[in-house]
């Protein structure tokens, strides 16, 4: 059986994450994102590759969304309401709560401000969210009889999760975006050690190694403080969720410590509303933040006020969070137009802005003039601070996760092509795990684990758990020499316990395969055992046999017999390594191989004519087929053995 991963988005690029994985007859879509850099059909994944007929309900078992960012969920309302998918959709509680805000915010920007044709309506978002089943972390969710999924904390944004999916014996993890180091308001990603056939990981920072985030946070705070202390205004363009709350927690904390009274504004009611969600979802934040919920909920921002349009031109310093991010239009751009010409003011921008946005233009170089559109140009004299903290894991984190999970195969998505190639090489060479970085619309096929199920009898289980001790004498190298001197010299006993499960597997038509212990088989079949053994009466030349015979009156007495065996025993102990020779007085035994002195001159097993019968002592050997090799080895030793009596 195979796992087929069709990468519909985020293949060798960042944007519109969407991977469709087929395993053991189930088909799961992980994420359904959009690419913000495009405004044509390219913004959505090419859904026609999932099903030509457009019958997505039968083509997909379920959709799993990792977090509320648009490049992971942006295409979902389009896919469910326009394309018509109506099957189950899974996401965590915070994602389900926050995604509609994110989608609605985006829709408004697109339609009302940019005047684009509507891709989906508000009703579409509402209807789409009705299909969503919320899941808790680590909760084992049975999608259907065979497929179950489980979310693990990913730490990227509130509610971000990695998803584990299992069908039969085949299992995989899709990480979505994750962060391996805790930050101020979110914890680090956490996952169990799982047995995986496939790991699909993001690779935004495939080659970067980042130091602590605290330094960069301090830089941001210093820049803000310097600006407001100088009477300037700080504009922080953000999307409604995630970054706004993270930065606001930073600022609140800083304001408290520095006893600052300068107002912090939120541009729209929307973000204030989002804080309400954050308050209820505080258990999804970092340990430090959630411990304080009872005395003071960290998302109960004390210094934050609502901003009114009339305040844009008001004098005095302030900090303003305004939507949308990237200065892609709307209110944040409007404020920017007013504040950009003054060098007292400050604009902060995230590490990544979609191409074509004002934010993107500001970041590339240090322009003093910006073309807002064909007719208007804007003087930009304000300072620009680039936020360099991003809640993605760095290369070390990715390597750590891959190493921790040790999957049989890795697929990288959500990164830049050349960097991904480097990381792919590292995973392959350092960890020895095959790795792929498919481009969009490519399919990667790998083999999957499968176990054969059988019922096993108790006797079989008992026998396989039975210790299988093997003993050999050795002096342990762990012990120091002095230690040995202190005690009497005592050879240590080396005991090995290599257990093997040996049994018989039976298959009958229309019945489940069954494992029995060997002894149970005949009982079940109602048959009688027919033992097949080998026998061989082996002569050993004895040079001074006559002498012995004379003293003991031609009859070998019991003690003599024993002494012959004793001689043989000594010889064999020297020659056979690791074998346990058991001495039962009258006979020796090695596994099933049995040796005794043969006094029957007409022993039928004296197959070989010996020239000199008088000078030989005969040893009768029998064994079963299991020890065939061992038996012939012992016989060859005996053949070459020249017995020197006494």
């Amino acid at each position: 059986m195979a796992i087929d991963s069709l990468v519909l988005g985020a293949g060798q690029q960042v944007g519109k994450s969407c991977v469709v994985v087929s395993m053991n007859g189930k088909r799961i879509m992980f994420d359904c994102g959009m690419d913000m850099a495009y405004h044509d059909h390219r913004r959505y994944p090419d859904f026609s590759r999932i099903s030509n007929s457009g019958d997505f309900d039968s083509a997909l078992t379920c959709i799993v969304i990792t977090h509320f960012h648009l490049d992971h969920i942006g295409a979902l309302p389009y896919f469910t309401e326009v394309c018509g998918y109506s099957g189950p959709i899974y996401m965590t509680y915070p994602t389900k709560a926050l995604a509609p805000l994110m989608l609605e915010d985006y829709r408004k920007v697109m339609v009302e401000r940019r005047g684009e044709e509507e891709q989906f309506t508000s009703e579409h978002i509402v209807e789409c969210m009705k299909k969503v089943i919320a899941v808790d972390l680590k909760q084992t969710v049975h999608v259907d009889k065979d497929l179950w999924i489980r979310a693990y904390y990913a730490g990227h944004v509130l509610g971000a999760a990695m998803f584990y999916a299992k069908v039969g014996d085949t299992a995989m993890v899709y990480t979505g975006d994750y962060n391996m180091t805790p930050d101020r308001h979110l914890g680090a990603a956490q996952i169990d050690r799982l047995q995986l056939d496939l790991l699909i990981s993001e690779s935004t920072y495939a080659t970067t190694i980042r130091d602590s985030k605290y330094g960069r946070e301090r830089e941001f705070l210093k820049a803000v403080h310097k600006c407001v202390a100088g009477g300037g205004k700080v504009l922080i363009p953000t999307f409604a969720l995630g970054r706004a709350q993270e930065l606001c927690i930073l600022l609140e904390d800083y304001w408290e410590r520095m006893n600052l009274k300068i107002p912090i504004y939120f541009s729209s009611g929307l973000t204030m509303q989002a804080n309400m969600y954050y308050k209820m979802l505080i258990s999804w934040t970092s340990q430090k933040v959630k411990e304080t919920y009872s005395t003071h909920n960290a998302f109960d921002f004390k210094h934050v006020l609502n901003f009114d349009r009339s305040m844009i031109a008001a004098p005095g310093p302030c900090v303003l969070f305004a939507t949308p991010g990237w200065l892609s239009g709307g209110f944040s751009l409007e404020v920017f137009k007013h504040w950009a010409p003054s060098e007292m003011n400050l604009v902060t921008l995230p590490g990544y802005c979609a191409a074509g946005t004002i934010g993107h233009k500001l970041m590339s170089g240090k322009p003093t003039k910006i073309d807002l559109d064909k007719n208007t140009q804007l003087d930009v004299r304000c300072q620009i601070h680039q936020l360099s903290f991003s809640p993605h894991t760095d290369a070390k984190g990715i390597m750590d996760l891959v190493k921790f999970l040790s999957p049989k195969h890795v697929i990288l998505v959500h990164g830049e092509k050349p960097k991904m190639a480097t990381l792919k090489g590292r995973i392959h060479s350092e960890l020895g795990i095959p790795c792929d970085d498919p481009a969009n619309n490519e399919t990667v096929s790998i083999s999957s684990t499968h176990y054969v199920k059988a019922r096993a009898s108790d006797t079989f289980i008992h026998s396989s758990l039975n210790p299988n001790f093997k003993f050999s004498k050795s002096i342990s190298e762990d012990e120091s020499g002095s230690c040995l001197k202190d005690r009497r010299f005592m050879p240590q006993l080396q005991v090995t316990d290599e257990r093997t499960a040996e049994g018989i597997l039976i298959e009958e038509k229309n019945k489940k395969a069954k494992i029995l212990h060997q002894d149970e088989l005949l009982l079940m079949l109602g048959e009688k055992k027919h033992e097949v053994r080998f026998a061989y009466c082996c002569p050993i030349n004895v040079s001074n046999l006559e002498e012995t015979k004379s003293t003991s009156d031609n009859v070998l007495c019991t003690s003599d017999r024993c002494s012959w065996l004793q001689l043989l025993n000594n010889k064999l102990s020297g020659e056979i390594s690791g074998g346990n020779i058991q001495d039962f007085g009258e006979h020796l035994q090695v596994e099933s191989f049995d040796i005794s002195v043969c006094l029957n001159d007409k022993c039928p097993y004296r197959i070989i004519d010996t020239q000199n019968k008088s000078e030989a002592v005969f040893f009768c050997c029998t064994w079963s087929v299991a020890d065939e090799k061992l038996a012939w080895k012992i016989i060859s030793i005996m053949d070459n053995f020249d017995c020197e009596s006494h």
Partner: protein, 795 residues
């Protein structure tokens, strides 16, 4: 004999010293310690090598092992303090330690699954607190007298003893109560067990956690404790509250001595009125040992650090063998039922459960399906029955409605049953709450106050919403106070756990509203939360009439005592009590009571008529039911499961359902199989050799290290009787010829014969009930064997 064992399934690195404790079963006491060094890195569950540092030959040592008649061996890694168990095939056993009593005192059981001892819940009986007097108030001169009176009598003045003796049969008097720092009544039968032998503790509710610090502070306790995240938090809060309320007694009576308190001496106990004595000693007068002094705040902290928290439907694996999961039971926020899946046992444990609660996530019974054994531990319907005896307001539930259902066999059957399960319990509960609010408003209207002891979290949360709504509609401006050391945190906490709530509350999250309306009430200053009666802000804020929620429901501890003393003489005021409480005894210290008392009961489990439909859906093979339910439930013969009734302390051995367990065989091992067809109808067999490992509760056969060494696998076991002619034919085909000598077997009727082989070399084949091949060289012997193999059946 040495039996199988299983070392946690973890890899142990080089050089770790182990000591194998050889234990004498069943006493489980170490007889002898055998130090062992593991000297190569290995996965212990599969294979390991160790060195015995003591002398003596292996045979001697083996003999010693055998002499001890070991059934159970424990290996303990001393340095890492790892507890490794030689696992055994121990039959499943169930022992009910206590049937509990009501919502606040859940049942307690001990179950042995796959050799692991699991304790279900560790509650304590707080209703027994009623034998103690609440803390006497300094302002109350009368009470002062009582205390001194009591102290006199304790100095064994013969006169007072005589006086007391007379009282035994009289109606209870406030002076009969015990004036001392209270002790607490735990599960008596739990003390009969050695706590160090408990492997796992599963806590289903905060109430089931209250006795846990008694266990965790005991020496030798090392069990893994599993509890849901919310239960752990709520349980911790309840324990902390209990400790802080108990402090008031300590302050009044002074620190407790280490000795037994006076009231526990037999002389004093003999003098107790029979009603109180029964509470102390139990019906069979054996429960004195159950009384213990309360744990400290440090014990609580220590206890909460020892628990491992889970979310609903989170999978956790104990010792690589048992998969344990918690599923919502609906009783309270965070309460749960359990499933335990081992290689041979699938067990579901059902605690008190509510199908459609108004606050917590609903009873997730579907996740309990497909378990062979159901341990049914919901005694609530029995408690309800007991109440029915003295209350005419309820009708006795009948199972008649079921008889029609059980004969119904159509496809909609399950839907039908489900609709029955979801009948309007919640509506009924809603009506009770509305009635309660109605009574409260009535009292407020005439200038009385309303005192509601905090009983259940769910009731508190709903009452806050309902009463404030009623106040709103009645245009009364009356403040609501919640006075408890943990109230602020409790109320804040309930608003940050949407994942644990019912669908309706979760919808509030998705629409951005607070989960419970108390958030808004506090903001609007309609609800006031204070940690204690003497909080300065409370004194400035205080306003009567008012509604007060305060602990503790036993009416012996906490702020509620103060308010009850304040209002007990006011005929306009109202006290709301849970009906399971013995009101006569509970209100004794506050007599004469002019205050109105409203006793009401809320649903605290599965109703009797729903037991059978529920079990039908769960489809177990064996159900364990409380003995007391035997009379109440008549199970029709149509049931596919067998029922075992249990009663307190009697251990029940649960019959094994499968004599075989599931094993997964890895593909690479399966590829090595060499199938043989048998003469038996359509049967194919193959020998298999691998390594058995247990991973995450699953037994797996993996290809061992010595795989594929011998490419030619010879059958080792033969049966049938050889056809001589056929054998000779086969032999001659491969160039082996000889002559046949018939001879009689050793007196047996079976014919035996000898084949003397001349060509290519001399050899001999003896054929009878068994076959002996004798040849001078390996090759020939092997060829003959192959020929024999062809005329016999073998594997």
């Amino acid at each position: 004999m040495l039996k199988g064992y299983n070392f946690l399934g973890q890899s142990i690195n080089t050089g770790i010293r182990l000591s194998i404790a050889v234990l004498d079963f069943p006493k489980r006491q170490p007889v002898q310690w055998v130090p062992v060094v593991i000297n190569n890195r290995c996965i212990v569950s599969k294979r390991y090598t160790f060195v015995l540092t003591e002398g003596g030959s292996h045979i001697q040592r083996q003999a010693q092992f055998q002499q001890l008649g070991l059934v159970n061996i424990l290996a303990v890694a001393r340095e890492s303090d790892q507890y490794l168990q030689w696992q055994n095939f121990i039959p499943m056993k169930f022992t009910c330690l206590s049937r509990g009593g009501g919502f606040h005192f859940p049942p307690c059981h001990m179950v042995n699954v796959s050799g692991f001892r699991i304790l279900f819940d560790c509650p304590m009986d707080l209703s027994a607190l009623s034998i103690f007097s609440p803390v006497p108030t300094g302002f109350d001169a009368e009470v002062d007298v009582k205390v001194s009176d009591f102290q006199d009598s304790s100095s064994s003045s013969s006169e007072s003893v005589a006086r007391k003796r007379q009282k035994i049969n009289k109606p209870l008097d406030v002076n009969d109560l015990i004036y001392a720092v209270p002790w607490y009544k735990t599960v008596n039968n739990l003390h009969l067990w050695n706590v160090s032998f408990i492997d796992i503790v599963l806590i289903s509710s905060p109430m089931g956690m209250l006795g846990l610090p008694f266990l965790t502070r005991m020496k030798g306790f090392s069990a893994k404790i599993y509890v849901t995240e919310v239960t752990a938090r709520l349980g911790q809060l309840m324990m902390e509250e209990l400790v802080s309320m108990h402090m008031e007694f300590r302050q009044f009576y002074g620190p407790e001595g280490s000795s037994f308190p006076q009231w526990m001496s037999w002389e004093e106990l003999e003098l107790l009125p029979s009603a109180l004595r029964e509470v102390v000693l139990g019906k069979d007068r054996t429960e004195l040992g159950a009384w213990v002094p309360l744990y400290s705040a440090a014990d609580v902290t220590d206890c909460t650090q020892k628990v491992q928290t889970l979310r609903y439907a989170e999978e956790t694996c104990y010792n690589g063998t048992l998969i344990i999961k918690a599923f919502s039971s609906g009783l309270e926020i965070g309460t749960c039922n359990w499933t335990i899946n081992g290689p041979k046992r699938d067990v579901a444990f059902i605690s008190n459960s509510i199908f459609l609660p108004a606050h917590a996530m609903k009873f997730d019974y579907r996740s309990l399906q497909s378990n062979d054994i159901v341990l049914y531990s919901d005694f609530s319907s029995l408690d309800a029955m007991e109440n029915v005896e003295d209350d005419d307001g309820f009708s006795i539930p009948t199972t008649d409605s079921m008889s029609t259902l059980s004969t119904d066999n159509n496809n909609n059957w399950e839907e039908l049953v489900e609709s029955l399960l979801y009948t309007d319990d919640s509506l009924e509960e809603q009506e009770k709450l509305s009635y309660l609010c109605y009574c409260a408003i009535d009292s407020l209207k005439v200038g009385g106050s309303v005192l509601i002891p905090i009983n259940r979290l769910g009731t508190l949360l709903q009452l806050l919403e309902q009463i404030s709504a009623s106040l709103e509609s009645s245009t009364l401006k009356v403040p609501i106070y919640v006075i408890s050391s943990i109230a602020e945190e409790l109320l804040a906490y309930t608003n940050v756990i949407p994942e644990w709530l019912c669908k309706e509350r979760q919808e509030k999250l998705f629409s951005g509203e607070p989960l419970f309306s108390h958030v808004e009430l506090i903001k609007d200053k309609k609800l006031h939360v204070f940690p204690a009666v003497h909080s300065p802000k409370l004194l400035t804020n205080w306003q009567e009439p008012c509604i007060v929620f305060a602990p503790h429901w036993s009416l012996r501890l906490g702020p509620v005592v103060h308010f009850l003393r304040r209002w007990c003489g006011d005929p306009n005021s109202l006290l709301v009590l849970e009906s399971t409480l013995d009101a006569e005894l509970a209100l004794l210290p506050f007599k004469p009571m002019a205050m109105k008392v409203l006793q009401c009961s809320f649903l605290s489990g599965i109703k009797l008529q729903k037991v059978q439909p529920l079990l039908k859906i769960l489809q177990p093979k064996i159900v364990l039911l409380p003995e007391d339910l035997r009379q109440q439930t008549r199970f029709t013969n149509a049931n596919s499961f067998s029922v075992i009734h249990y009663s307190e302390i009697a251990s029940i051995r649960i019959p094994s359902l499968k004599d075989n367990s599931e094993v997964e065989i890895s593909t690479d091992l399966a590829l090595q199989f060499q199938w043989r067809n048998l003469k038996h109808e359509n049967m194919t067999v193959t020998r298999l050799k691998g390594e058995l490992s247990v991973y995450h509760g699953k037994q797996r056969l993996l290809s061992g290290s010595e795989q594929a060494k011998s490419s030619k696998i010879r059958p080792l076991l033969h049966w049938g009787s050889p056809d001589l002619e056929k054998l000779l034919n086969i032999l001659s085909n491969i160039g082996i010829n000889g002559s046949v000598e018939q001879c009689m077997g050793n007196g047996e009727s079976e014919k035996a014969c000898i084949v003397h082989v001349h060509e290519p070399k001399k050899a001999l084949i003896e054929i009878g009930t068994s076959t002996i091949i004798s040849a001078g060289d390996e090759n020939l012997a092997s060829k003959i064997f192959e020929a024999i193999d062809k005329v016999l059946e073998g594997i």
